[in-house]
């Protein structure tokens, strides 16, 4: 590499100024509706002739009505529509008929309704309501239009739409003929559909509405009887299961009863009894559980749910004064010999679900050794470099000698530990040793992967062999997946959920005003960034990656995501580490505040991107001409067809992202902004687990990382076995030097160096840092203050019974 070559070559390619964008609006012509025309009345005279029908300016008549009786000689003044300057008088007796402007509108509205053009109809009627509210027949006109539309909607099978329209007709005219029958028909269709889907609450709501209108309606009577019968069955089943001690079945049937008929006699008392023996909660989640998830930094669902089924050797509790705070739920872990030795003492009798063998020091030693092997799921190059030797001191004690002292060896040991003969220590493949068993859909339970569709539920049932069970601990957790937080919050408010794991920031002001709900913040913000696929052309070039950073107006997108009220700690980033919530936040120890985020500079972005794209094209053409020499072009060849107008496409990139509400908004905005520069972005949302690396056929992967311990996580993001697949030799050197740091001062200096290198070479395209919030019903206790993940203190969760399926 010589510097002059780089600069010279870049200037030779030239700078592309932003091309002018031609904007044109297609002209269109449409017929102007009557109500948008200048108003006029039509006066028809009795005497036939040329001037029998007169188009006049609106007549100035009291209440815009033709007088009932007129005497000969009483005249009315007219001004012609086409000649308003002249005033004429006509005797009332000469007038045969007056067609008022508003009447014509009403008549046309009727015609449109008959023709099924309901959107236009309501425009006409709204106009009349606003300008001519006293038009005779207006009310009937509305009613007829609604009724007609209801008929058409019903015939299309859209029964809910038809019912809504009929309700409005009822509100206007409860005594309209045939209305009762029509309402009954629509209700019947809807209720039978809901009952087939077992959506009892919805069915009851519809029936209640009909009951309020027509209490004796046969539809109401029939379906109410049916619901009561089903409720009786559920009650019986719940009672029987409770009496036999099958609390899981009792709870299931009681829940069913609550949705079928919550007011069933004895239902509430039974529910209270069952809840006291089998407490459960339902949690709304925005990322669904997957048994195949493996990326702990980026996969929120994995971080959340792994805590339910597993206890790792060390667990991160949150930022501390120097690095993170950790606990060892399996026993005790201690540093000795000035940090050159780790002593781990397991507590006895830790068994996996199903009463497997107890965990011993041999199992632990095996695990710690396996983590140094590149093929291991929890392989850590840093641990591999650090571990010198292992010794099993006794059945439950292991001593690990380290090559040198390390600032946070505990961070490297967040791994599940299971007896050697019980399978690979992979989340949701190994048997559970945590408070809950694996869901029935996990591979270990030999069932299929859940679809991840909205509404899909996963049930975690208590692990009776859990070594750290607490009295009164929850017996079941049901996670329900939502694609829209609004739906989750709605169900939370109605008591169908006890918590929602994450809500968008723009919803916070509204949620904080809800009396029954509480909002909590997670301890560690997420670092949002785009991981480039360094094996793909263009994004493998640091100049092009820099162009992407300059070309995205991150400030504007951040404002969109945060909403109208600023949220502390949500800010732009210049690197892959969290900036914390301020200078005194210990979490920000790796973030060098002297490195400012690159500003939004679309012109520079365009220049850099275009020059790299051109260079890539030239390189490709050169390679092709060297390998295949084709015939020279003919001298009289026709020139190429002129290209379409609009911004020229410099390159097309594929951006893969988890199909999450917030990320969807961000990626859509990124696409729009880069399109202005001629960079076409193909969005590829995915559900399911976040991959450990960028997919082979994608250029960029949007991730939101929980970087709780930058000193340990830096390698997992930027290292060769990390998400980026390894950066420049300079970054690799800096990461190696970080692993060798023996104190925090040294570690911080080296992390700052890594931050600078990652910023300069755009190892990741940094976007922003967002704090995440969860929301829960105030009755739910034990979540803790600022947890790292929702279930961090799951053993302490206490949820009172909130009976009723129809809380408003």
């Amino acid at each position: 590499m010589t510097f002059p070559k780089i600069i010279g070559g870049w200037f030779r390619r030239g700078i592309f100024l932003l091309p002018a964008m031609m904007i044109y609006c297609p002209a269109f012509a449409a017929e102007t509706p009557i109500y948008e025309q200048d108003p006029y009345d039509v006066v028809t005279l009795k005497e036939p002739g040329e001037n029998q029908v007169l188009k006049v300016l609106p007549l100035d008549l009291p209440e815009r009505k033709v007088p009932e009786r007129t005497r000969p000689g009483v005249k009315i003044r007219l001004r012609f529509y086409d000649d308003p300057g002249k005033l004429f008088e006509v005797d009332w007796t000469a007038i045969k008929d007056v067609d008022f402007f508003e009447q014509r509108i009403l008549k046309q509205a009727g015609e449109l309704a008959a023709a099924g053009k309901f959107e236009d109809v309501y425009n006409y009627l709204c106009f009349l309501r606003e300008k001519y509210p006293k038009t005779p027949g207006l009310g009937k006109g509305w009613e007829d239009a609604l009724y007609e539309e209801a008929k058409v909607t019903y015939s299309r099978g859209e029964y809910d739409g038809a019912l809504a329209l009929l309700r409005e007709v009822y509100a206007r005219n409860p005594k309209r003929p045939e209305l009762e029958k029509a309402l009954g028909m629509a209700t019947e269709k809807l209720v039978s559909g809901y009952m087939a889907q077992k959506r009892y609450a919805a069915a009851r709501i519809i029936l209640d509405e009909l009951r309020s209108e027509f209490p004796e309606h046969p539809t109401v009577t029939a379906w109410t009887e049916r619901l009561k019968a089903e409720a009786a069955q559920a009650f019986q089943a719940a009672e029987t299961a409770a009496q036999s001690g099958d609390w899981s079945a009792a709870d299931r049937n009681c829940l069913l009863l609550g949705t079928i008929w919550p007011d069933y006699p004895g239902a509430k008392k039974l529910a209270e009894t069952i809840h006291s023996k089998y407490p459960r909660v339902a949690v709304g989640v925005m990322t669904p559980w997957s048994p195949r998830a493996s990326n702990r930094l980026a996969d929120e669902a994995l971080r959340r749910t792994s805590r339910l089924c597993y206890r790792t050797l060390t667990e991160y509790l949150g930022p501390g004064a120097e690095g993170g705070q950790y606990r060892c739920p399996l026993g005790e872990i201690r540093r000795e010999n000035l940090g050159r030795k780790l002593l781990v003492r397991l507590q006895p009798d830790i068994r996996t679900a199903g009463g497997g063998a107890a965990l011993t020091g041999y199992d632990l030693a095996h695990r710690l050794r396996e983590m140094t092997r590149p093929g291991d799921p929890d392989y850590s190059p840093a641990w591999s470099e650090l571990l010198q030797s292992l010794q099993v001191k006794d059945v439950y004690t292991v001593e690990a000698e380290l090559r040198h002292s390390s600032v946070c060896p505990e961070a490297l040991l967040q791994t599940p530990v299971v007896p050697q003969d019980e399978g690979p220590p992979v989340f949701f493949q190994a048997p559970a040793d945590g408070p809950f068993r694996l869901p029935a859909s996990s591979p270990a339970a030999k069932a299929e992967d859940p679809s991840g569709k909205a509404g899909a539920e996963i049930t975690f049932t208590v692990n009776p062999d859990y070594f750290a069970a607490q009295p009164g601990q929850l017996q079941q957790i049901v996670e329900r997946y939502y694609t829209l937080s609004a739906n989750a919050v709605s169900d939370l408010k109605h008591g169908q959920l006890q918590a929602v794991d994450r809500v968008p920031l723009w919803e916070l002001p509204r949620l904080q005003e809800e009396a029954e709900l509480a909002v909590g913040r997670y301890a560690v913000p997420r670092v949002h960034c785009l991981i480039p696929n360094l094996r793909r052309p263009l994004v493998s070039e640091r100049t092009f990656r820099r162009a992407l950073v300059y070309g995205i107006n991150r400030e504007a997108i951040l404002k969109q995501l945060v909403g109208p009220q600023p949220v502390e700690g949500c800010c732009l980033l210049s690197g892959p580490f969290p900036a914390g919530s301020g200078l005194d936040d210990p979490l920000s120890y790796a973030y060098d505040v002297r490195i400012a985020p690159r500003p939004y500079d679309p012109r520079l972005a365009l220049a850099l991107a275009a020059s790299e794209a051109l260079a890539a094209k030239e390189d490709g053409a050169k390679e092709k001409s060297q390998t295949t020499a084709g015939p020279p072009p003919k001298a009289n060849a026709k020139p190429a067809a002129p290209k379409e107008k609009g911004p020229r496409t410099i390159a097309t990139l594929t951006l893969a992202y988890p199909d999450d509400e917030v990320i969807r908004v961000a990626c859509t905005s990124i696409k729009k902004q880069l399109a202005v520069l001629g960079l076409k972005i193909e969005l590829r949302p995915f559900t399911g687990p976040v991959p450990e690396k960028v997919p082979e056929d994608a250029d960029l992967l949007y991730v939101a990382l929980v970087v709780g311990e930058p000193a340990a996580d830096a390698g997992a993001i930027l290292g060769e076995s990390g998400m980026t697949g390894g950066g420049s030799p300079y970054l690799r050197l800096a990461l190696r030097q970080l692993d060798e740091a023996t104190n925090w001062e040294e570690a911080q200096r080296r992390l700052y160096r890594i931050h600078r290198l990652a910023h300069e070479e755009v190892a990741v395209i940094p976007l922003w840092q967002l704090y995440d919030f969860y929301v829960y019903r105030k009755g739910l206790n034990g979540i803790g203050r600022n947890p790292v993940s929702l279930y961090q203190n799951i053993e302490q969760w206490q949820a009172p019974l909130e009976y009723s399926a129809e809380k408003k």
């Binding site: 590499m1 010589t2 510097f3 002059p4 780089i6 600069i7 870049w10 200037f11 700078i15 100024l17 190059p381 591999s384 470099e385 640091r542 100049t543 820099r546 500079d601 012109r603 520079l604 220049a607 850099l608 060769e720 420049s728 030799p729 300079y730 970054l731 690799r732 050197l733 800096a734 190696r736 692993d739 600078r756 290198l757 300069e760 070479e761």
Partner: protein, 460 residues
């Protein structure tokens, strides 16, 4: 007679050559594992038959003795030939040129014959050559094949031309061709490893060591000499001139399928391992480099087995190669090590410079864009906008600010190692020149003058 010849060889030149090429190899084959062969009589018959067969095939090239291995050697030879030592094999006044240990062992239903050669002059062991037979009747042929394959030809280095990359060897016993004309120990493509033997006045070895990272590849063979191509990773391998009592020998080597592990350490004490350094294999041309991998945190790298018998490896760190191409015969040495100067400080400096280059590109880019916008504004007579862009242009980091930053970084990265400091200085000096060139204020001044003139002429 042989002693006398040996004495003459030490002092005279031309006579040495002819003696060297006329004297046969004194080959002793020590056979162990009689129990597997059968009865003592059968073992004796085997040895006799082996000697006869070898003499028939090899002829005058070898002065051959086939005898039972001494009792002290029987067990170690049979148990593990890899653990044999020269001291264990050599007698105090050893006269043999080659000692080949041959073992016969039973492995289930088969018999395994293994041979391993010790070249006495260089004290170097060859690889273990093993053959398996199902029938005792084939034992002699298998043993013959194993012995012939284990045999490594020895040569003297007659001269080397480092510029041309050539070496001339004189093979021992070259004037005594094998009886079987198909038996060729040296042909084009045969590899030799140079070995230096330092002797005392009496010709006894004081020190024997192979020349590291140096291999000869035979190009042509004649009775007088063997012409070879020289591959070396050393700047000045000591094979050009004869020096005192140093014998410059070359021993034939064969590639094998065994893997080799390379260990990289820093040259300066305490010689820490060099982790993360890139190991490349050079192809047909110096620019044809393929990345094999990087050294691990302990500076080690397992060289994956390749197809080529001779491979040229290169060590790089960042953009810079840190070694000449290092020749490696596949599987010759299980463990290799090389000491090179630690390049981490230079690499760090290179990283800083590249970061600054990127920053410079961005600033220059912004300057160009703003200059273009100023010209467009002037064309449109939008003087206010033009002045605004000019202000933005002036507010961009200028050359002086950049140079201060460069000076700070240079100070931070300074080293006491003169060679290293020189390399770091080169990186920064190049960047400095370009900062001055591309961030000069004159361009902006000229633009400002242009703007003022244009505005003035429009007012008129």
């Amino acid at each position: 007679m042989i002693w006398a010849l040996g004495g003459i060889y030490q002092r005279a030149g031309a006579t040495d050559q002819s003696v060297w090429q006329l004297t046969p190899y004194r080959v002793q084959i020590a056979v162990a594992g009689d129990a597997a062969i059968g009865s003592p009589e059968a073992a004796e018959a085997f040895r006799s038959a082996l000697q006869t067969q070898l003499e028939t095939v090899v002829g005058a090239l070898w002065q051959l003795t086939v005898a039972p291995a001494p009792p002290a050697l029987q067990w170690p030879a049979v148990d593990s030939m890899e653990t044999l030592t020269a001291e264990g094999l050599l007698k105090p006044d050893e006269k043999a040129d080659k000692i080949i240990v041959l073992t016969v062992t039973e492995e289930g239903c088969t018999l395994r014959v293994a041979a391993r050669e010790l070249d006495v002059r260089t004290r170097r062991f060859g690889p273990v050559i093993a053959k398996t037979v199902w029938q005792r009747g084939k034992l002699r042929d298998a043993a013959t094949d194993a012995v012939l394959e284990a045999f490594a030809p020895l040569a003297m280095i007659d001269g080397a031309d480092l510029k041309k990359g050539t070496v001339v060897l004189r093979l021992k016993a070259a004037a005594l061709p094998p009886r079987d004309p198909n038996l060729v120990f040296v042909r084009p493509g045969t590899y030799f490893q140079p070995i230096l033997r330092y002797n005392d006045r009496d010709g006894n070895p004081l020190k024997i060591e192979p020349l590291p990272w140096t291999i000869f590849e035979t190009e042509s063979v004649s009775p007088e000499q063997v012409a070879c191509k020289l591959y070396t990773g050393l700047r000045a391998p000591p094979i050009v001139r004869r020096r005192g009592r140093m014998e410059q020998l070359a021993l034939g080597v064969r590639p094998s399928t065994a893997a080799s592990t390379l260990e990289l350490r820093a040259r300066a004490e305490p010689k820490p391992p060099l982790a993360g350094y890139e190991i490349y294999e050079q192809g047909s041309s110096p620019k044809d480099l393929k990345l094999l991998g990087r050294t691990d945190p302990r500076g080690r790298f397992v060289i994956p087995p390749g197809k080529a018998s001779l491979r040229l490896l290169m060590v790089k760190n960042g953009q810079r190669p840190l070694s000449k191409p290092l020749p490696l015969v596949r599987g010759l040495e299980p463990e290799l090590s090389i000491e090179i100067p630690s390049d981490d400080a230079r690499l760090q400096a290179e990283g800083v410079v590249i970061g600054l280059v990127d920053e410079l590109i961005d600033i220059v880019g912004r300057r160009k864009v703003l200059a273009a916008r100023i010209k467009i504004a002037m064309k449109n007579n939008d003087w206010q906008k033009a002045r605004q862009f000019l202000r933005e242009l002036r507010n961009l980091p200028d050359g002086q600010r950049f140079l201060y930053r460069l000076a700070d970084e240079k100070k931070r990265l300074s080293s006491r190692d003169r060679m290293l400091q020189k390399q770091i200085d080169e990186l920064f000096n190049e960047l400095q020149k370009n900062i001055v060139k591309y961030l000069s204020p004159e361009e902006i001044d000229a633009l400002e003058i242009q703007l003022e003139e244009a505005q003035a002429s429009k007012k008129k």
